[in-house]
Structure formats: C-alpha cells, structure tokens
C-alpha cells in the first residue's frame, strides 16, 4: 500500500508541475520565446497572493482571483513593452533579457519581502483528505491536479475552438502573413503572455498553499516546468501533463528511497527520457 500511496502523491504533485509548465509551453508555442524568468514570475504571483491574503484577510482562492487580473496586466505589459523588442531570429536577446529579469525579480522580492520562507495558509483544507479506495489523497493536492486538468482543457478549447486561438496559431505559424490578415502579432504575443500569467497565478496559488516558498525559489520551478515540457514533448499540453506526472512520480519515489534523492531522481528521470526519446514522449510540434 505504501508504494501505491507514494505513486499517487507523485501523480498529484505532477499536476503542480504541469501547472508550472503550461504557461511556459503556451508562450514558447506561440512566439518561440523561452522565458528564463518564468519560475520567478510564479514566485512573484505567490507573493502577490500572500500580500492580498494578509492585508485583506481574504481566503487564498479569493486572493488568487484578485491576483489573476493583476498578473494578466503585468504579463501583457512585460511582453508588449519589453519582450517584444527582443524577438527576432537571434535567440540571444530574449534569453539574456529574461535571465536579467529573473535576477531583478529575485532581488526585488528579497528587498520587498526579505529572505524568509513564507506560506499561504489555506485553513482546514490543508490537512483535509479523502479516501480513494485503499489510499488517502489530500484535498489540496487533488485540487491541484484537477486544476491542472481544467487549465489544459480550457487552453486547448481556447487554442483550437475560438477566434483568438486561431489568431494564436496563425501568428505562431507565420507572424508576417498573420499580420497581412489583420492580426497584430505584437498584441497577440502580449495577450498570450498575459494569459500565461493567469496560469502562473493558478500555479502560484497551489505552490504557496502546498509548501514554503522564498524569493529565490524561482529557478527550481523553472527547471521543473522545463523538464515537464521536454519529457512530454514540445507542443502538446496533455504531453506536458504526462511529463509533470512522470517528474512528480520520479521525485516522490526517489524521496521514499532516500529523502536526499528527491530532486536528483527527478532530474535523472528527465535525463533518461532525453537519452531514449530526445523529442519527448508525446511530441507534436515539428520544431
């Protein structure tokens, strides 16, 4: 039963990693931009939720609901005014600008919130659990996983069923031609990053209620998100969920063998997939 429990916890943890990764995947899919500050933006959103919860006394879920439009605006502005300037054939400017942004965010948060570990309290929900056959699952981890599924369903609906989604796909395929058809790629990019920041806010809600976080937690979240994307294969959001689950299970199994190995076994699972399936397990995009 112990192993079954370990694997279940890993699967549910994978939901969190899929939430980390969905925003990264969305932005890369549409504008071929890898945002090295993605993890720090997740941590920033967690601090925004924390600030709302502590100053207004609202529940974390209401806090996240209030933080989402703020993060959308921040993402929109970040893309429109800063990152759009870096896009082009050369991959160096966006990488270095987002790397600089990552350092700015980390140290800005250190100044604003000190280096202390923080946590968003979710009240009695934190310890609540539900019996699933022979094992118990915590309510919060379960909600994390279901939120990840819901986010992926929504994003897929948006991308493949709506006019905005068609504009996303058209701009992704060929921004110049899309521009000729009346789409403004600059605005589409800004909209996509804004949307990614809403997903980031959802991820931040569960990051903040699940465990402690601090201003320097960002890079590790970026790495988990990246590993989930690569394990799953570029361009497929369901693949990203599978990638997150594989990473989560590898980590919990590693931790069950030796608590010091948790992070390491996650990385090793990633390297194994890279070794045998360099294009990921469920590749979709051709680039």
């Amino acid at each position: 039963m112990n192993w079954l429990d370990t694997i279940l916890q890993g699967v549910l943890l994978g939901g969190l990693y899929a939430l980390f990764a969905a925003g990264l995947s969305l932005v890369f899919g549409i504008m071929r931009l890898v945002n090295l500050a993605h993890g720090d933006l997740i941590v920033l959103a967690a601090f925004v939720i924390l600030a709302l919860v502590t100053t207004l006394g609202v529940s974390p879920f209401v806090g996240a609901l209030m933080a989402a439009p703020l993060m959308f605006a921040a993402g929109w502005a970040l893309q429109y005014f800063l990152l759009n300037r870096t896009l082009g054939k050369d991959i160096l400017p966006p990488l270095l600008v987002t790397f600089g942004l990552s350092i700015v965010l980390q140290n800005g948060l250190l100044e604003g919130f000190s280096a202390d570990s923080r946590r968003v309290s979710a009240g009695s929900l934190e310890s609540a659990s539900i019996a699933l056959g022979p094992v118990n699952a915590g309510i919060m981890p379960l909600m994390t996983f279901l939120s990840a599924v819901a986010v992926i369903v929504c994003l897929n609906q948006l991308i493949y069923r709506t006019a905005v989604g068609r504009a996303f796909r058209a701009t992704s395929d060929d921004p110049v031609t899309a521009g000729l058809m009346g789409i403004r790629p600059q605005r589409i990019f800004a909209l996509a990053t804004g949307l990614a920041m809403v997903v980031v806010t959802i991820a931040a809600l569960y990051l903040g209620t699940r465990a402690n976080f601090e201003p320097t937690s960002g890079p590790a979240r970026l790495i988990y998100a990246f590993e989930a994307v690569i394990i799953g294969g570029l361009g497929s959001l369901w693949g990203t969920l599978a990638g997150g689950v594989i990473l989560g299970v590898a980590q919990t199994v590693g931790a069950a063998i030796n608590p010091e190995w948790q992070i390491l076994t996650g990385h090793l699972a990633f390297l194994l997939v890279l070794l045998f399936k360099p294009r990921g397990l469920f590749p979709r995009a051709m680039d």
Partner: protein
Amino acid sequence: MSLVIPSWQVETRKKTSAPFALSAGATLLLAFAVPFLVSRGVVQDLFFILTMLVLAQNWNLLAGYAGLISVGQQAFVGFGAYAMFACVILLGVDPLAAVLIAGVLSMLLAIPTAFFTFRLQGPYFAIGTWVIAEVVRLLLAQWKALGGGTGTSLPREAIRDMVGVGLMRDVFGMKASAAGDTLTYWLALVLMVSTIGFVYGLLRSKQGLGLAAVRDNEQAARAVGVNARRMKAFVYLAASFITGIAGALIYVQKARISPDAAFSVIDWTAYVIFIVVIGGIGTVEGPIIGVILFFFLQNLLAGYGSWYLLILGLIGILVMLFAPRGLWGLFSDRTGIQLFPVRRLLRGGSLNRTHKGGPHG
C-alpha cells in the same frame, strides 16, 4: 602580352595592431611584477578579476561565437573545484598538479554532458545546461568524504607545501600565505593570457572562420562544408577544460568549498554573462572592458545587498535592448579601432569598384 594577376593578400592586421601589441606586452610585464609593488589585498582583487575574465572569455566563446548559450557553466567551475579538492585531500596530489587534472576531468565530464544538452535546440539548450549543473551539484553534495552538503576545507599544509611556495619563500623572503597568493595570482595571469591567446588564435584560424560562418548562418555554412556540430562540440569541450582549470584555481585560493558556493549560478554564470554582455558579446575586447567595469560596480555597490544584483540585472537588460553589442561595440563602431582584429581584409591588387554584374554577380 602578359596577363596581370593582382596579388591579393588576406590580412587581419590593423593600424593599431603594433602599438597595441607593444603596450599589451608592457602591461603584462608590469602585471607580473605587481605582487612586489602592492599589498596582498590588491593581489587578491586582481586574482578575482583575472579568473572572472577567464570565465567570461570562455562564455563569450560559447555564446558569442559558437551560438551555445549556456547558463550552466557553474557545472564546470564546481566540478573542477571538487576534482581538485578530491585529488588533494583523498590522493595527496600537489594542488598545482590537481588544478591540471581538474581541467582534464572537467573536459571528460563535458563529453556525456554534451551528449545530453546537444539534443536540445536553441533556448532549451540553455536550461538543459542548468539542469546538468544541478545534477552535478546534487551528486557531489552526496560525497561524504568531501563534506557532503556542508563542504570542506583544504588542509593548511597542502597550500604551505605547494610546489613553488617554498622556493618563493626562500628567494623573495615571503610568508607562506603571501607566497600562496602570489603564486595563484601568477597562475591566473598565465591562464588569462593563454585563454585570450587560444580564443584569438582560434578565431583567426580556418576553424574560427568556420565558426563565424556557423554563427551567422548555420545552413549556409554547412552547405559549403563546415561541420557545424563538430565545431560546436570542440568549442564546448575546450571551454569546459579551461573553465574547469579556472574553477580549480579559484578554489585553491579560496581553500574552502561547499556545493552551494561552487555551483552558484549567480557567481559563476550570472556575473559572467553580465561581464560579457556589458562589455560586448562576440568580441575579445568586450569581456576585458566588462570585467573592469564589473569590478568597479561591485566595489561601489557591494554595500547595498540585493539592490546591487537588482541594478546589475537592470543594466544588463538595458544594454541588451539598446546597445546589444555592448560598450566595446559602441566604441569600436565610432572609432573603427579593434585591438584583436579577426575580420579578414583583402589587401594588394586593385579593387575595381565600378564593375558590377557579370557571372558572379
């Protein structure tokens, strides 16, 4: 009737080359004499500048010339440092020999590393190198003989009995600690000069031309027979060798190691990227300007804690946006001065500028 064949010559020399070579030689002589002229604190500062410059030249070679943007060079700094510690503490090797062994081991580490990271394209390569650095850090943090997660120190005798220290004590009458600092400083100087020599020599060679072609247009370069993959792999291995040596040398001087410090992404990659970006990526001169500026900024702002890093990050972003070729790029564009010219110029023969069209366009 004789056909005059214009005798073309390919040259990279510039008007400034001779005076620059002279003044560089004089500066080097002065640099070797520095430990006799200034205090130990200054020698340690210069050691820091030299080793950061070596790391910056390597990162510049990777990112600015080979298009390999790595944010995981701390893997080789930390691995080189740990390899040196292992040789000294566990095998009793002399620290100086251990530094060389560390370089070779770092290059060996780069082979499996390249095998994984080269499967990732463009921006994902960058994060892939970061993952590798994390894996190496986590593995070495498990090595209990070297202090595990908390780290360990070099035994005092190892530095005191280091090859050359005794000689310098006898000849110059230095204390062991001062002799150690002087020796590591001289080695850093030699390493810096040979790194710049290697990078500059590579860029001027046929391989360097191929490398520049790959950077500018990989498909076109491959079409004319440049083996892009082999070139990139060679640069990656060479950079990891030198980075490993630099890492080991830095930690001979520090004499205390821990996984978090030796694999710090801020210390060994963020600072290095800042140096290269602000000085001018893709030039040999850029990192030299960058490291000097970085050193002054650090002394100026070190008291401000995290504001310091925040300002460095902002400067980096602004330079990347508004002067992507850095300070040296701005200077070079205005004056046309290049201290390490790599551009090939045709000299001799007569340039027939009015001739257009024809079979070769």
